[in-house]
């Protein structure tokens, strides 16, 4: 799911091992854990396992005109992958998506860390007001975020154009922000950043509050400057959080679908405005090239799982 709230919470209580089954336990007790996991496993197999299986196998099959008339899809080996990787369009969309991800994730991280550090340094009332504002932005459902921003940037009555036009010599009334592809992606990036910074800022701030006062005091006594303390002490201590947050942002920003889809609906349809998510959707459900779409989805999947691997390792450490 797409909401930035999906960060898996790592609850730190260790797993109790006190009642490990002893050899003397009756068979029914030994079967119990398996019975308990069965419903969840079945649900996962139906909702995710089968689609995954379908996707892997169908990425090697051809869906053409004949299949629309009911013929079974033909096995074509790697042809779909070859078609994607030798054509220019997939590469163009992939590059655009990676660039979009890199810029959005880095800006989000930089703003989030900056605001978290600022929250530590300012008065209580200022900090509280920022926390409340961020929670509001973070809690907004994606579709509501998009309708509101679409209203803010509305060409005729939007507040953005009105405020910009207050600058002497600038007249933006009537300017449509969604026509030029660069401007379209900039708008998408700003909205996603606006919604994602709260998660980063509040998480980093929570991490900063756990940096013990003794350490910073000791450094101060040794004559460290503010910048030195930040670089040599604070940042290294919260590094694990920063790594997790950066990975999550990269994964989420690469997968972005809903925001792009909605912005296209509001103003600008066409492949010029596609990122990977909408591109795959168009290939598959739009044009019926299910085999090629499945292959494209597989490439994205392998890519994201590669990114996630480090994150999974961190989570597994928590389980032990």
């Amino acid at each position: 799911m797409t909401s930035p709230a999906t960060a898996p919470a790592v609850v730190d209580a260790p797993t109790p091992r006190s009642d490990a089954p002893r050899a003397t336990k009756p068979r029914s007790v030994r079967a119990l854990p398996y019975l308990l996991v069965t419903p969840a496993v079945l649900a996962l197999l139906v909702g995710l396992g089968y689609p995954l299986y379908w996707q892997v196998t169908n990425s090697f099959k051809e869906y053409g005109l004949a299949q629309q008339f009911g013929q079974a899809p033909e096995w074509v080996g790697l042809a779909n992958y070859v078609e994607l990787l030798t054509g220019s369009q997939f590469w163009a969309v992939l590059l655009k998506s990676v660039a979009f991800m890199a810029v959005t994730a880095l800006v989000t991280m930089a703003l989030g860390i900056g605001l978290a550090l600022a929250m530590k340094a300012v008065n209580r009332w200022a900090r509280l007001s920022l926390q409340v504002a961020m929670l509001l932005a973070w809690a907004m459902p994606i579709v509501a975020q998009m309708t509101v921003w679409n209203w803010l940037i509305d060409s005729r009555n939007g507040v953005l154009n009105y405020v910009l036009s207050l600058i002497p010599g600038v007249d933006m009334i009537g300017h449509n922000w969604l026509v030029n592809p660069w401007s379209f992606f900039a708008v998408a990036s700003v909205i996603i950043t606006w919604a994602a910074v709260p998660f980063v800022a509040l998480s980093v701030y929570a991490g900063l509050t756990q940096v013990s006062g003794e350490v910073t005091e000791a450094a101060q006594l040794d004559g460290a400057s503010g910048f030195q303390m930040l670089r040599r002490i604070t940042l290294p201590i919260i590094r694990p959080i920063l790594v997790i947050l950066l990975l999550l942002q990269m994964i989420w920003d690469l997968r972005v679908y809903a925001q792009i889809e909605l912005l296209q609906g509001f103003g600008a349809a066409g492949d010029k405005y596609d990122l990977l998510g909408t591109y795959i959707y168009g290939l598959g459900i739009g044009q019926g090239h299910f085999g090629v779409a499945a292959a494209a989805a597989m490439i994205v999947m392998v890519f994201t799982i590669g990114l996630s691997w480090f994150y999974v390792r961190e989570l597994l450490k928590e389980d032990n």
């Binding site: 799911m1 797409t2 709230a5 898996p8 919470a9 790592v10 609850v11 730190d12 260790p14 797993t15 091992r17 006190s18 490990a20 089954p21 854990p33 996991v37 969840a40 649900a43 996962l44 909702g47 995710l48 995954l52 379908w54 340094a121 009332w125 200022a126 007001s129 504002a133 929670l135 509001l136 907004m140 579709v143 509501a144 975020q145 998009m146 309708t147 509101v148 209203w151 803010l152 509305d154 910074v197 991490g207 940096v211 997790i244 690469l254 972005v256 679908y257 909605l262 998510g277 795959i280 598959g284 459900i285 299910f290 499945a294 994205v300 999947m301 994201t304 799982i305 961190e314 389980d319």
Partner: protein, 281 residues
């Protein structure tokens, strides 16, 4: 020296307050615009405060013809079904991994984590083909099957922490006092888990209630729209290119407010949860 320090702090505080206003502005603007009449909202000069506003946008949205009520019913049915099934299944799974040591436990935990990393956006095509093959497009059951599978992993992971937090000794003590294993669980552990179940339930609720992307693929008919889909349709320009911004914003407020309230209930757990383990070591 100290004076300059406190002056800097004061300037910083004002700057952060300004950032807070900027961040909250879109949310404020949504609420403000939702109270303005069509002529006020299409005036060249924006109206900055909602004084002298009107409830008419809200009555227009809540009126039967807008489709809001229908979408609300659909959202409620899908969310209720997904939530109940997900919480029961996830709870049983969480019990298994935090109370028992069994062959395959590690693989199950690993699967739970890896499944969360599958990009949902890359699975739509396959899920669409599966649900279409079962003739379940535009049905509550069809989309709920996928939602349940998508939310279970995180819910198991979250509940596992709560179950582990209730010491097994308590249960054993009750068993020594004559309870059966099941009785001990129901009387001792289960009540202690209530807050955890509520938190995970609220979390799952937000996920399902807000979901847009998969719904846009699986629920294509007008009659089966959920609230996010309804809002999308409602916010798109009419054939004449006109948008009733006041009504669109009133619709957005109605969609967003319940989520914001629920979100504020669980948010603390979401940030502190992620970070808690990371620094302590």
């Amino acid at each position: 020296m100290t004076r300059r320090h406190s002056l800097g702090r004061r300037i910083g505080s004002v700057a952060i307050f300004a950032v807070a206003l900027l961040w909250a502005f879109p949310v404020y603007w949504m609420i403000n615009s939702s109270f303005q009449s069509a002529p006020t909202i299409s005036a060249l000069e924006p109206t900055w405060l909602p004084f002298g506003g009107t409830w008419r946008n809200y009555s227009a949205v809540l009126d039967g013809s807008s489709g809001f009520g229908q979408a609300m019913r659909m959202s409620l049915m899908i969310t209720a079904l997904s939530l109940v099934v997900c919480i029961i299944f996830a709870f049983l799974g969480a019990l298994a991994i935090s109370r028992f040591k069994f062959r395959g436990r590690k693989s199950f935990v690993l699967a739970i984590i890896i499944v969360q990393m599958l990009p949902a956006e890359a699975m739509f095509i396959a899920q669409y083909k599966m649900i279409a093959g079962l003739n379940l497009l535009n049905t509550v059951i069809g989309i709920s099957v996928i939602y349940i599978a998508s939310v279970i992993p995180f819910t198991v992971w979250m509940l596992r922490g709560f179950v582990a937090g209730v010491p097994a000794d308590l249960e054993e003590a009750a068993m020594v006092d004559g309870c059966t294993r099941f009785g001990a669980f129901m009387r001792v552990t289960f009540p202690l888990l209530a807050p955890g179940l509520v938190a995970s339930g609220v979390y799952a609720f937000i996920q399902v209630w807000n979901e847009f992307a998969l719904a846009s693929v699986l629920l294509t008919s007008d009659a089966s729209q959920t609230l996010p889909l309804w809002l999308r349709t409602f916010a798109e320009p009419s054939t004449l290119g006109m948008i009733e911004w006041g009504q669109v914003m009133a619709g957005s407020v109605l969609v967003a407010v319940p989520v914001i309230i629920f979100f504020l209930i669980v948010q603390n757990r979401m940030t502190s949860g992620l970070v808690g383990g990371a620094v302590k070591g």
